[in-house]
Every structure is written in structure tokens, then in C-alpha cells.
């Protein structure tokens, strides 16, 4: 929370071109065939941080204890964060089921942004000109 009241969940946007996977020097990252999420092979990960640099939203991070890369694996297709949010009836995070129509689905990559960037927009949406002062 960089501006009071403006909470931005920082989640993997599931880019369809996988810049993180492409950046990994040891091929520790792979794409799940079933869920299309990114999977990390802890044996191969050398904690270099290249995937974090490659991510347009800076979403991955290194596990504080093991120092291995942590990237959203969509909880094997049934994300716990969505379940928690829906259970609480906040409805802030939900699954958007996506039929493969049009030009191959929504451009997820656009949503890979840092919370700092998104906060600036949302603060103005919520507070108007006051939001500009708060940033």
C-alpha cells in the first residue's frame, strides 16, 4: 500500500510469450502443459534473478529461505487466492475463463505491471486530483 486505501494485488499475469522462461540461463523454468502456468525446477535454479529482471511486472521473487525463484503456478489450476477472495465475498480476484476466440485470447502481458505503476492510476481513479497529491 503506497497510497492509503489503494491496495494493488501483485500477481502473475500469465504472459503468453513467457519472458521469464526465455530468460532462464539454466532452463529451470518450464510451462505447464495442463494449466499454461510457469513451473520452477528447484534443482536447476541458481538464484540468479534473471527471471525477475525479465518480468515486465517484476512479479517473481526469491524464496527467503531457499533462495529459489517463486512464480505463480496457479495452484495446479485452482488458485487458492481466488478461492479465499471469493469465500470472503470480496470478489476482487476472480477467474476469467477464456474461450479461445478472436486473436487468441486476451493480452495478459498488458497486465504485468508493478504495483507502483498501477497505484498511480488507481489513486487518481479513486481520489481524483487529491490522488495526484498523495502519490
Amino acid at each position: 500500500m503506497l497510497v492509503p486505501g489503494v491496495e494493488i494485488p501483485h500477481l502473475c499475469a500469465q504472459c503468453s510469450d513467457y519472458p521469464c522462461v526465455a530468460s532462464c540461463p539454466t532452463k529451470a523454468l518450464s510451462v505447464s502443459e495442463r494449466t499454461s502456468a510457469v513451473l520452477v525446477d528447484n534443482e536447476k535454479c541458481i538464484s540468479c534473478g534473471k527471471c525477475i529482471e525479465a518480468c515486465p511486472g517484476k512479479v517473481p521473487f526469491l524464496h527467503p529461505a531457499t533462495k529459489k525463484a517463486l512464480i505463480c503456478d496457479l495452484c495446479d489450476g485452482d488458485p487458492e487466492c481466488v478461492k479465499a477472495c471469493q469465500k470472503a465475498n470480496f470478489d476482487a480476484i476472480w477467474l476469467v475463463r477464456e474461450p479461445q476466440v478472436g486473436f487468441g485470447g486476451l493480452s495478459h502481458k498488458l497486465f504485468a505491471r508493478t504495483p507502483e505503476e498501477v497505484t498511480k492510476d488507481v489513486a487518481i481513479n479513486l481520489y481524483g486530483e487529491k490522488g495526484e497529491e498523495l502519490i
Binding site: L95, V96, R97, E98, P99, F103, G104, L106, S107, L110, F111, R113, V118, D121, V122, I124, N125, Y127, G128, E129, G131, E132
Partner: protein, 615 residues
């Protein structure tokens, strides 16, 4: 009385100031259904013999605002506006959503047919089984927001005076903005500030009749349907289908396309279609989402899709603009096509277009056309009175207001892109028609043909609706679904399963219309009337199928950048597909419907009139 219909139509003659009810035989309603189909039938019956002499913006034209049997019962109610189009000189069915169509059906009318011209500004008020012509001098010349406030108050006060204890007196209405009043050929029929029936330019037809608005408030129930239980089951099926599978449409509408269509399929207009690719991520749907959207769903009555979002600019120099969040078409035409790549600026221009009553597709196309002429130094500071660089929001605003006031060059531009191009070619001695992006006078929707991933090559060229992207031609059958949607008048974004609508239609009306019958007889009948009107055209412009059943020249220029760089529409392919389409739908090699086709469809009167041009 046929089921699904209120049963009668309001026939208004503004010249004489008379209002009467009119009805149509069940057989006509069964064939032409309503909306676009019935409008084509009415227009042809009343004007067909003298079609080429009728001035679209003169008193002879007829303006129709019709519903269909599905309207208000199937999710996504719309009203279909039609008449002789000031853009194509043919018949175009143009729809927009809102509460007006449902209100209209509840007054006991299925539609309003307006002929003649009032001597001073008027609006038509439709209440239960009654229509009246009222003075509109108080709202004439007003921009959308102010007009809406005054008109709503006036009508509410009047209705409350008549029935003091009425529960709800909030009316629905369609209106034309200042652009329509000035007979700008790219003016839309508007509803609810931001909803527009743009293609066809029927705002200009309303304006030319001195008709500011049609207002409806009904207190009767919706019409009976043949089988209420079946309709209920089908309705729930459609709604559930939309809710469970259309997450993306419900979450973003088409407002995520501003970056996507350009970057991924290279088919979004950029700087008057000079390019169709850009990679400005600042223009992504998520940026609109985070900073400007203030309401997740803004549905019209009876819609479960809710693709509309409300956008407000809350800070910065453009502060204060309110509109529905630009959908993909408006994002494209008021964004990249004018060289604008900032979501806020795009929303500002969208709000302006809505406020002035421009069609958000056709109007900005003309603006971009001028932008290109300025870039090529054909039009200069001397012609415009100001600089017009790509991306200059204030300059484009100034130009739009000049068009509405018909000041200087604005008077020429008010005639739409193609007519303006002809005039400017004359004025400047340079042929500027290759820069005009239109098909048969109708400016094209934001889906290019060049990359091959979006619109098919003859999608516009062979469509009886010209540049309308919602009525695309692939083969002789594809268009029939859009003809049905516009005739039964419901929203294409609420079509969950295209086959389900036929069951819906049968349960609703009790008529045994099948998909096969529609695709082979009833749909083509409507297409053929539209085709005949388009071919005869006049009085200012007529179309030659050999030359005009084609894409604009721009679509044959190679794409200058992006992943599809160098790719373009193949002329040979277009000609081949065109020949196949003519043959399949029953037209001769010149593109004129054959006598035997028209006889099979029972359109002998159309054949008689077409004989004039068939040499």
C-alpha cells in the same frame, strides 16, 4: 394478433402534423420480422418507385425506428433505425441499445415511422396507445447532457401532471445531437448520452425533419408470447450461458482491444489507416481500467452481458469528461487513427463525439481523413485556420465543432468522408479520393483486411451495409445471422448460441421459421431489397458494382510496419471471391440481382425497378 409484437406501429407525418396507427399483415411480419427487414419493406413499398429522386436529408425521406419480436424479451434490447441513408443512398439497418425500445413496446407500439418535415423543431412523445407531436425549441441546439436533463424533466413533469400518482415516469428516448441538426452525414441517432446507432447517418435524417427526439413511456406489459414457459427456459439458458462463458466480455467489454487488435492482428487503423499496427502499450485496456473506469457494469435494461463501463477523467487538463468507456471501435478511431495514444485523451474525444452526436466510427474517420490531407499538405493552415498535427486533441476537437457548425471547410466535411473527398479534389485539383476510407459512402469499422487475420477480403466490399463491420460477408449465408439480429432487434453480444435463437423465435412468435428458411429465403429477401436500393441510389451519388463493390484503395497498399509488414489485400482474391459471392447469392456478373432470383424470392416489384439499370 401475432405473438411477440405489441401489434401496431405509429405513423407520423410531420409535414401535416398528423399521427395515426398503422398495422401490417401477419404474413409481412413473418417474412420481414421487424427492425432492418421491416424497415426495408416499408421504405421500398413507400419510396421504391421514385427511390433515385428521394433526397436522404430532404422532406421525402422516411425515418423508421423499429423494434422486433425479440426486443425486450431476449437479453439485450436494441432499437433499429433506418431510412434512406445519407451515406450510402441505400437502406442500412443501424441499431443501438437502451431503454427506449422496451418502453416503446410497453406503450403498445412496435415502432415509429416518421415522414415529412416539421416546420419548427419538434419531438414525438409516445405514451400508452397514443402518439403526439410536441414543441422541441427548448432542446434544439443543445448538447447531449444538457438536452437529456431538460427533456427528461419536461417529460416527467408532464407525465406526472397527467397521472399524479404514477410510480415511474422516467422515459426512454432516442435523439439526434447538434451534428444531426446540422445534417452532418456522419451523425448518429443517440440514446442515453453515449449509445449510438451510427452507421447510415440517421442522425442527419432526424435533423433534416426537424425531429429532435422520440420519447416513449409505456405502462402496459410486454406483449404476450406464444409459449411463456419455453421462452423462460430458453431465456435462462441464454443468460446462464452468457454469465458462465463470457467472463471476458463482461469484465472488459471490447474495451481491451485498443492495443491488442493492433499489436497482435495488425488490423487497427493508425493515422487514417496509413498503418494498422502499433505497439503502444500505454494504450492497453488495463490502463483504461485502472485509471478511468468508475463502474464495472453499466447495463441497459434486460442485458446480462453488461459490456459497457463508465469512464470519468478525474484529474489533469481534460478533467471532467464523462462517457461510457470507449469500446474497441472508439478506442481505435479516437486513438491511434488520430495519432492519439493516451487513454485519457481518447476518452475525452469519445465524450466529445457523444456530446455532439457524431457516430463514433464515421465521424472520426472524416477527422482522420483531414489529418492525412494536412500531413500531405493538401489542406493547410489557410484552409483550416489552425494547425492539425496527429495526436493534437484540441485541434481535432476544434475541427469537429467546425463540422457541426458547418463553418468554412467544415461545411464540406459535414458531407462525410467520400463526398468531402470529391469536393476537395475539385477545390484543390488533386485527386484525394484514394485517401478516403469508405465502402459505398459508409466509413469503415476498425477492422482491416490487410493482415488477413481479421476481416475477410470481401467483408465490406459485398456487404449491403457498406463499411459496416457488424454485417460482414464471407459467403452467401454468413450475413444472414446479422440480418436476423438487426431484424428481430437484439444485441449480438448477447448471442450465446446462434442456433438457440431460432428456438427462441418459434417459442416467442409461434411461427415455424427455421434457420434454413431464413438463410435461403427470408434473409436473402431483405438483402435483395437493400441491394436494389443501394444500386439505384441517387440523387447525388450512385454506385457502380464493378468499381464500388470493392475495398478502398488504401486496403491494397502494403502494410508499412509490424509483423505483417508488406502484406496487403490481394486484388485477384477479392475479384474471385466477389464472383463466387455473386453467383451463390443469385446476382449476375455485374452484381445486379437476376430476375429469376427475385422471382424466386417473390420480389417482382424490385425486379421491375431494377430493369431500369439492367442493360
Amino acid at each position: 394478433m401475432p405473438r411477440g409484437y405489441a401489434g401496431k406501429f405509429l405513423d407520423v407525418d410531420l409535414s401535416r402534423g398528423t399521427v395515426k396507427d398503422t398495422t401490417f399483415d401477419d404474413s409481412i411480419l413473418r417474412s420481414y420480422v421487424g427492425g432492418r427487414g421491416l424497415a426495408a419493406k416499408i421504405l421500398w413499398d413507400r419510396l421504391g418507385d421514385r427511390w433515385n429522386t428521394v433526397d436522404p436529408v430532404g422532406p421525402d425521406n422516411i425515418f423508421t425506428a423499429l423494434t422486433g419480436p425479440m426486443t425486450g424479451i431476449y437479453p439485450g434490447a436494441r432499437i433499429c433505425c433506418s431510412g434512406k441513408s445519407p451515406q450510402s443512398n441505400g437502406i442500412i439497418g443501424s441499431t443501438c441499445s437502451g431503454e427506449f425500445p422496451s418502453e416503446l413496446k410497453c406503450t403498445g407500439y412496435d415502432g415509429v415511422i416518421v415522414s415529412g418535415k416539421a416546420s419548427s423543431p419538434v419531438y414525438i412523445l409516445v405514451t400508452d396507445d397514443k402518439g403526439e407531436i410536441r414543441d422541441a425549441s427548448r432542446i434544439w441546439g443543445k448538447e447531449a447532457l444538457e438536452m437529456t436533463k431538460i427533456l427528461t424533466k419536461e417529460v416527467r413533469d408532464e407525465l406526472k401532471r397527467r397521472t399524479p400518482f404514477a410510480a415511474n415516469c422516467e422515459p426512454g428516448f432516442i435523439y439526434c445531437g447538434p451534428a444531426g441538426e446540422s445534417r452532418v452525414r456522419t451523425a448518429a441517432v443517440m440514446q442515453k448520452l453515449a449509445h449510438a446507432a451510427g452507421y447510415g447517418g440517421y442522425g442527419a435524417v432526424m435533423g433534416s425533419k426537424n425531429l429532435k427526439a422520440i420519447v416513449a413511456k409505456g405502462t402496459k406489459p410486454m406483449p404476450d408470447v406464444m409459449s411463456p414457459s419455453t421462452v423462460n427456459i430458453l431465456r435462462e439458458k441464454v443468460e446462464e450461458g452468457i454469465i458462465t462463458t463470457r467472463d471476458r466480455m463482461r469484465r472488459w467489454g471490447t474495451g481491451y482491444g485498443g492495443w491488442e487488435v493492433a499489436a497482435r492482428s495488425s488490423s487497427e487503423p493508425v493515422r487514417s489507416w496509413q498503418d494498422e499496427w502499433h505497439d503502444e502499450r500505454a494504450f492497453g485496456g488495463d490502463k483504461f481500467d485502472a485509471k478511468y473506469w468508475v463502474k464495472r457494469y453499466w447495463s441497459d435494461f434486460n442485458c446480462v452481458t453488461g459490456c459497457l463501463k463508465l469512464a470519468v477523467i478525474k484529474a489533469g487538463p481534460l478533467k471532467g469528461a464523462i462517457t461510457d468507456n470507449p469500446d474497441y471501435e472508439l478506442q481505435a478511431f479516437l486513438g491511434p487513427n488520430l495519432g492519439v495514444f493516451d487513454p485519457g485523451e481518447c476518452i475525452y474525444l469519445a465524450a466529445l463525439m457523444d456530446s455532439l452526436g457524431f457516430s463514433g466510427i464515421n465521424g472520426p474517420n472524416t477527422l482522420a481523413f483531414v489529418g492525412e490531407l494536412y500531413q500531405r499538405e493538401i489542406l493547410t493552415h489557410d484552409d483550416l485556420g489552425f494547425e492539425l498535427e496527429w495526436g493534437d486533441v484540441k485541434a481535432f476537437e476544434r475541427l469537429a465543432r467546425m463540422i457541426v457548425r458547418r463553418e468554412g471547410i467544415g461545411d464540406v466535411l459535414a458531407e462525410g468522408t467520400y463526398r468531402a473527398a470529391l469536393k476537395i479534389s475539385q477545390m484543390k485539383g488533386v485527386d484525394v479520393t484514394p485517401f478516403a476510407v469508405h465502402v459505398k459512402g459508409v466509413e469503415i469499422g476498425a477492422h482491416g483486411t490487410r493482415s488477413g487475420l481479421d476481416m475477410n477480403p470481401i467483408g465490406y466490399a459485398c456487404s449491403v451495409q457498406g463499411g459496416d463491420h457488424t454485417s460482414r460477408v464471407v459467403d452467401a449465408y454468413t450475413d444472414m445471422q446479422s440480418v436476423y439480429q438487426d431484424s428481430a432487434v437484439y444485441c449480438s453480444f448477447c448471442t450465446f448460441d446462434p442456433n438457440l435463437v431460432w428456438e427462441f423465435h418459434r417459442a416467442l412468435t409461434g411461427w415455424d421459421v427455421t434457420k434454413e428458411e431464413w438463410y435461403t429465403t427470408l434473409g436473402p429477401r431483405i438483402i435483395h431489397i437493400q441491394r436494389a436500393a443501394e444500386l439505384i441510389g441517387g440523387p447525388d451519388i450512385t454506385w457502380d458494382p464493378a468499381k464500388d463493390d470493392d475495398n478502398p484503395p488504401r486496403y491494397y497498399e502494403p502494410l508499412p510496419s509490424g509483423p505483417f509488414k508488406g502484406k496487403t489485400t490481394d486484388r485477384a482474391v477479392v475479384q474471385e471471391l466477389k464472383r463466387e459471392y455473386y453467383k451463390a447469392i443469385g446476382w449476375d456478373e455485374k452484381g445486379i440481382p437476376k430476375t429469376e432470383t427475385l422471382q424466386r424470392l417473390g420480389l417482382d416489384d424490385v425486379d421491375r425497378v431494377l430493369r431500369r439499370i439492367r442493360k
